[in-house]
């Protein structure tokens, strides 16, 4: 399936990398704690080592996947629907008609704030969809665009 729609800003890759690194850090700290537990209370040594191993493997895996994840992430907002597409090995295409959208919220954690990006959450009566991160002006514009289209769609019903 060819790519249609907008790509995410390139800076989102930094956030994915940073988030992978943070996760690895947290797992490693717990792993070190377990090794300390081995030292003081004779817990199994493999527990801590295993966790650190998992931390490193997941870090490498996620770092390796960042360009791929970026390459295949697309969003497309038309007057009738929001389309999200992600993944290549496991491709996922979501269609959310504008008229079903109940709410759009913008959200930015510390990492997204650091890159001045914002996550766009789109909610229907039963599902939630996420655009991982877009620049702030785009986020505002998307929200207004979606909400305005949703209003029009509802008026027509």
């Amino acid at each position: 399936m060819e790519q249609t729609g907008q790509a995410l800003p390139a800076t989102i890759q930094r956030i994915w990398r940073a988030s992978a690194a943070l996760w690895a850090l947290v797992l490693m700290i717990i792993g070190l704690g377990l090794i300390a537990a081995w030292f003081f209370w004779h817990w199994s040594f493999w527990l801590g080592l295993g966790l650190i191993g998992i931390a490193i493997i997941q870090l490498l895996f996620r770092l390796a996947l960042v360009p791929y994840r970026y390459r295949f992430w697309r969003y497309n907002i038309t007057p009738t629907a929001v389309f999200l597409q992600k993944g290549f090995f496991f491709q996922k295409n979501e269609a959310i008609p504008i008229s079903r959208i109940q709410n759009v919220t913008l959200e930015a954690g510390p990492l997204l704030q650091w890159q001045t990006l914002q996550q766009v959450n789109i909610e229907t009566a039963s599902t939630a969809h996420v655009i991982d991160g877009v620049t702030r002006p785009v986020a505002d514009q998307l929200r207004n665009q979606i909400l305005q289209l949703a209003q029009e769609a509802r008026d027509e019903d």
């Binding site: 399936m1 090995f89 979501e94 599902t127």
Partner: protein, 521 residues
């Protein structure tokens, strides 16, 4: 009955709240009961348990009294207002047009008092509990609420609703007599034969039998050892007969409990439609009436267990956008307990007019893709259940044990493969022109056919791995609102062209038709 100022619940509500309060402490009572049965109980222990139980009874009573005194409700022309809360005072105002369902439950002992419990649900997503719960109120309350609700087609002004209420009944003066309800546009009442058939073909006895088996096992632990020894002496020779007899008794008992339970639950089941309002009513010991607005129906589901499939019987359920419906654990409202498969659709059309006259021919999963279902079932159960159990038993149990476990594991995998086969042959999908989707899935030996309007599909997803792409296969996920959450109906391993065709029907993709790149295989 005055309606212009907040009302308390009927005094019997206090009792109900109290009973409900201390029943939630049931582990304490069971624990206490079991330890009293034990012979080696010291007097101090007895005192401790007794004290605990009395303490809980007293505390829940005090709490219930406070709760009761703080709880008032007002049925006003512009909405229902509920004041509640012991420590944190809460005022909940529910406008009538926000109400999704009104559920009335009347235990037989409340009938002579003209009282019932009323649960009011809105479409709010936040909580699992009903927004408005009136534990014991005169039946006129729900009648009034329903009348306001039906009158809400016009903008809500006190005058308009009052004028509408007058012709229906001389307003809130009658407490027991039902107001002259408008004549139903369609009505159905279950007959004895159908009810019997429904109860006989229910598979509800399976969990009940497992429950009895578990209980007998537990009971053995608590019987004094001396009983056992005596019994063993007396019956060594008879053991086989005893086991067979016991099994028979458990089977019959389980089946009987399930049968009677269903009979009492669906006793006098009725379904009727008045304008846009669907209403079901049922129950012997507890009359349970649910009113729901037809326009809020999210989907209709025809459900058949394997047993009912053989007998060509079907159950019809409605998926609602609120959690008040059938049972506590089941959000789906039963519209028809049992109906011959062939009449199901045509009979339901009298109640849900948007259903198609005849079901179009469903597109099954391509035969070449069916083995994926079996493969996934077997692999999933092998890696997540059978292998871990067998491995654990190899480590910790004696050889004689794990040989049996391997055998049981193999049988389990065969059963799961059959289940996969069932799911694969059942799965099917079709667009019913112009605006409906029909999806059929097989889960747990039950065939479920969903009828969903396009406007009630909240979102749609196509999933495809790169290997599936090479074979022209895709998963289609359809999201429907059910209760307060999402029900995803999956059509797995379907032909990608059909999946895309359905996606395009739902929301035309913005780009050029994306054909030609997935016929590599």
């Amino acid at each position: 009955m005055k309606t212009d100022q907040p009302q308390r619940l009927a005094p019997v509500a206090l009792l109900i709240i109290w009973i409900r309060g201390f029943i939630s402490w049931w582990p304490l009572f069971v624990g206490g009961g079991l330890s009293i049965l034990r012979a080696d109980m010291s007097f101090n222990q007895f005192l401790l348990w007794g004290g605990l139980i009395v303490g809980v009874l007293v505390l829940t009573l005090i709490w219930s009294i406070l709760h009761y005194l703080r709880f008032t409700y007002l049925v006003a022309p512009n909405g229902l207002t509920i004041n509640s809360g012991v420590l944190i005072r809460k005022v909940n105002h529910i406008p009538y047009d926000r109400i999704q369902t009104v559920q009335r439950q009347q235990w037989f002992f409340l009938k002579p008092l003209g009282l019932e419990q009323v649960a009011i649900e809105t479409a709010g997503k936040e909580s699992k509990k009903a927004e408005g719960m009136l534990s014991a109120v005169p039946v006129a309350v729900a009648d009034t609420i329903n009348r306001y609700r039906q009158g809400n087609v016009q903008p809500v002004t006190p005058d308009a609703t009052d004028n509408q209420a007058i012709p229906a009944a001389p307003d809130q003066t009658s407490t027991t007599a039902a107001p002259a309800a408008p004549v139903a546009d369609a009505a159905y009442k279950i007959n004895g034969h159908d009810l019997n058939q429904y109860a006989l073909t229910s598979l509800g006895f399976i969990p009940i039998i497992s429950g009895i088996l578990w209980l007998t096992q537990k009971a053995q632990e608590y019987l004094p050892d001396s009983w056992y020894k005596n019994a063993e002496h007396a019956i060594t020779g008879l053991a086989v007969y005893l086991i067979i007899g016991l099994t028979l008794i458990i089977l019959i008992l389980g089946f009987l409990i399930s049968y009677l339970n269903i009979i009492q639950k669906y006793y006098h089941f009725t379904l009727d439609r008045t304008g846009d309002e669907l209403r079901t009513s049922r129950g012997f010991f507890q009359t349970n009436t649910v009113s729901a607005r037809l326009s809020r129906l999210q989907a209709v589901r025809f459900k058949q267990s394997v047993l009912r499939q053989w007998l060509h019987l079907s159950t019809v359920q409605a998926l609602l956008a609120s959690s008040a419906a059938d049972d506590q654990q089941n959000n789906d409202l039963v519209l028809m307990p049992v109906i011959p498969e062939r009449q199901a659709l045509s009979s339901m059309r009298a109640f849900v007019s948007w259903l198609p006259e005849t079901s179009p021919k469903l597109q099954p999963i391509p035969v070449s893709n069916r083995w994926y279902y079996m493969r996934n079932m077997v692999l999933g159960h092998l890696t997540l259940l059978v292998l871990p159990v067998v491995l654990a038993s190899v480590f910790w149990l004696h050889v004689s044990w794990w040989l049996w476990l391997v055998l049981a594991g193999l049988i389990w995998l065969v059963v799961m493969a059959l289940q996969g086969q069932y799911a694969a042959t059942t799965a099917a999908i079709a667009i019913a022109p112009p605006k409906q989707l029909i999806i059929q899935v097989g889960e747990m030996w039950t065939r479920q056919r969903y009828f969903v309007r396009k406007k009630d599909i909240q979102a749609m997803t196509i999933k495809q791995s790169i290997w599936m792409k090479a074979r022209g296969v895709a998963h289609l996920e359809v999201h429907i609102r059910k209760g307060n959450s999402d029900q995803t109906v999956n059509s797995r391993y379907m032909a990608v062209d059909l999946a895309k065709q359905i996606m395009t029907w739902y929301q035309p993709l913005p780009s050029v038709p994306q054909e030609g790149d997935n016929h590599a295989a």
